[in-house]
């Protein structure tokens, strides 16, 4: 995990600072930046050192919790702290929607193999997989926001209620995968011996499905959901852009366009860290859910 973290952040760091052209071009309005400003800035961001040394210094500061300053003098750490909770909230809403709808659809269709509901779920997941997120976003915004007027087309204040629609859009693609995964799981476990035993004992159907089958079928789904939270945090750029959510995605997109290297590396570092932590968490959760897996 540590090598991966270092590798990924180094990759991003190298890419961001390797942008050809002067990183401080246009930072001083219409005229060229004065020589003293540029040299002070180059000194501050260690740009005269070799890349590896630069990165080493950056990492050293990072380990002390210092994300550094942007070229405009703002604290990167503070900006991240202001926007990250919004994106986290959005990602959690999306994850909840995805889990509830996806698992329900998957279980229902898995139990009735080859029926009408099963076909319906298969066809709708096919559609959800095919529609790019920004198309879903704009169609939802157009139909429900502008034409029917049911929702506000942009998120004015990021409360949970306002984030439901963007969360739904963000979740739409993964929802289809969750439904398919849980459908396969249920269909595989339906004829397992332990299910037959449970039914033979006279347990009600609800308990057999809800406790016995779900616990065994949902292991791959949990893995998917865990890694998905990391993906949501990093991939919310498009959704946040459409609905104007003031989150990390908009921040990082703007900083990339304005070549604000310190901000980009800071945000990406946080996102990669979250992603790796989620992967670790999922691995640990595995052992809890499936006693056959043991980490010694």
């Amino acid at each position: 995990m540590v090598p991966v973290f270092i590798g990924t952040t180094f990759l991003i760091y190298a890419l961001v600072w390797a942008v050809p052209g002067d990183p401080f071009e246009g930072k001083c309005g219409e005229r060229d930046c004065p020589e003293s400003y540029v040299s002070a800035m180059r000194d501050k961001f260690n740009l005269d050192d070799p890349l590896v040394v630069q990165y080493g210094k950056y990492l050293g500061n990072l380990l002390q919790g210092d994300f550094g300053l942007t070229s405009a003098g703002l604290s990167v750490g503070e900006r991240i702290a202001a926007t990250f909770p919004v994106t986290l909230k959005l990602a959690l809403v999306a994850l909840l929607i995805e889990a509830v709808i996806g698992i329900t659809a998957g279980v229902v269709s898995g139990l009735r193999n080859r029926g009408f509901l099963d076909s319906l779920v298969l066809v709708s997941t096919l559609f959800l997989i095919s529609i790019p997120v920004f198309v879903t976003g704009y169609v939802v915004q157009l139909v429900f926001g502008l034409q029917l007027g049911l929702i506000s087309p942009t998120v004015t204040s990021p409360t949970i209620g306002n984030l439901i629609v963007p969360g739904f859009v963000l979740a739409s693609l993964s929802m289809a995968y969750v439904a398919r995964l849980s459908r396969t799981g249920i269909a595989e476990n339906k004829r397992a011996d332990y299910v037959r035993t449970a039914l033979a004992k006279g347990l009600p159907q609800k308990r057999v499905v809800g406790v016995h089958m779900l616990r065994n079928s949902l292991i791959p789904v949990i893995t998917f959901l865990g890694t998905d939270l990391g993906v949501f945090l990093g991939g919310a750029i498009v959704t946040e852009g459409i609905f104007n959510v003031p989150g990390v995605g908009g921040l990082v997109f703007r900083s990339i366009l304005t070549k604000d290297g310190a901000m980009v590396t800071g945000v990406v570092t946080v996102l990669v860290l979250v992603y790796l932590l989620m992967t670790l968490l999922v691995d640990l959760l595995y052992a809890v859910l499936d006693p056959r897996i043991r980490y010694d």
């Binding site: 991003i12 942008v19 050809p20 052209g21 198309v135 991939g235 750029i237 997109f253 996102l271």
Partner: protein, 299 residues
């Protein structure tokens, strides 16, 4: 007993792909997706077959006119004919999709089969490098790569397309590599590989002649679905304004320029979005059908 054997022998034994083809031929979903794909490929190859208009002709006098008899899909903000541009936009989208898939599958599968076959330090290094690339969220990584590449300023159509293909391939090869690696590791344990090795076959021959034909199916399924996904990814990047851009015409570029006029001219966004979705859908459906046909367990 002999009767049974005669019955079995009457059907000439088919390989995995013969079986799969036999299975596929009977599925309506397969034919629907194949005909949709053929139509889009035809649009990409000979756009003049469908329209005689000029995709670069913009007349501000007809800006944002809704669909009518002479312009089926209406005009966009710049006064471009949307129908003509949608037809001409197929080429860029398909080219990006096909080239990135070829890039991803060739690099990923080659590295994967070598890592799986040789194992040891090669496998360890390759897997860690793949972990690093998977750790970067796709959209974020693509934005960073493309802004770095775009910084060069104005570029011709070829360079713009090449940049997008490159960034998709760089961020996606680990998936193909992981799929190939796990199948290669499983295949390495099989008796036919051991037999070939015992007969003194060179590693190159074992990989090329024995393992490759037996490992290619999962990657093939992945590549069909990935082709659709990459077309969608291209559109997403172009929509963000960093992927394809003028003078290249693509569905993503059209959606990007239409998004600011969503309220007054929704048709300018909905038609390219519809074509985009239908194309991605066709590839995903094809991938689904191929997977079911290639996986004996699902029959």
């Amino acid at each position: 007993m002999t009767d049974q054997m005669a019955v079995l022998a009457a059907d000439r034994p088919r390989g995995l792909f013969g079986d799969a083809w036999h299975e596929l031929r009977r599925r309506p979903l397969f034919w629907v997706s194949v005909s949709m794909i053929l139509l889009v490929v035809l649009m990409a190859a000979v756009p003049t077959l469908f329209t005689s208009g000029d995709p670069g002709l913009a007349q501000l006098s007809r800006s944002r006119q809704p669909p009518s008899a002479e312009a089926w899909f209406g005009y966009d903000n710049q006064g471009y004919d949307i129908y003509t541009r949608v037809i001409h936009g197929a080429r860029a989208s398909i080219v990006v999709g096909v080239l990135s898939t070829i890039g991803v599958v060739l690099t990923g599968a080659t590295i994967g089969i070598l890592a799986g076959f040789y194992g040891g330090w090669l496998d360890a290094v390759v897997s860690r490098v793949a972990d690093i690339f998977v750790g970067v969220p796709f959209v974020l990584g693509a934005i960073v790569i493309l802004t770095t590449l775009n910084a060069g300023g104005d570029a011709g159509p070829v360079r713009i397309v090449a940049q997008v293909v490159l960034s998709i391939a760089v961020l996606s090869w680990p998936v193909a590599m992981r799929i190939m690696r796990s199948t290669a590791i499983a295949a390495k344990q099989q008796d036919y590989v051991k037999a070939a090795r015992a007969l003194g076959a060179q590693p190159r021959r074992i990989i090329g002649k024995h393992m490759l034909p037996n490992c290619v199916a999962p990657v093939l399924v992945y590549s069909t679905i990935a082709l659709g996904a990459f077309i969608g990814a291209e559109a997403t990047l172009s929509y963000l304004g960093i992927g394809l851009r003028q003078p290249v015409v693509s569905w993503g570029v059209m959606i990007n320029s239409a998004k600011d006029y969503l309220r007054v001219a929704p048709h300018a966004l909905l038609f390219p979005a519809g074509f985009l979705t239908a194309t991605v859908l066709a590839f995903v459906m094809l991938g689904d059908a191929v997977r079911e046909a290639l996986d004996p367990k699902l029959r």
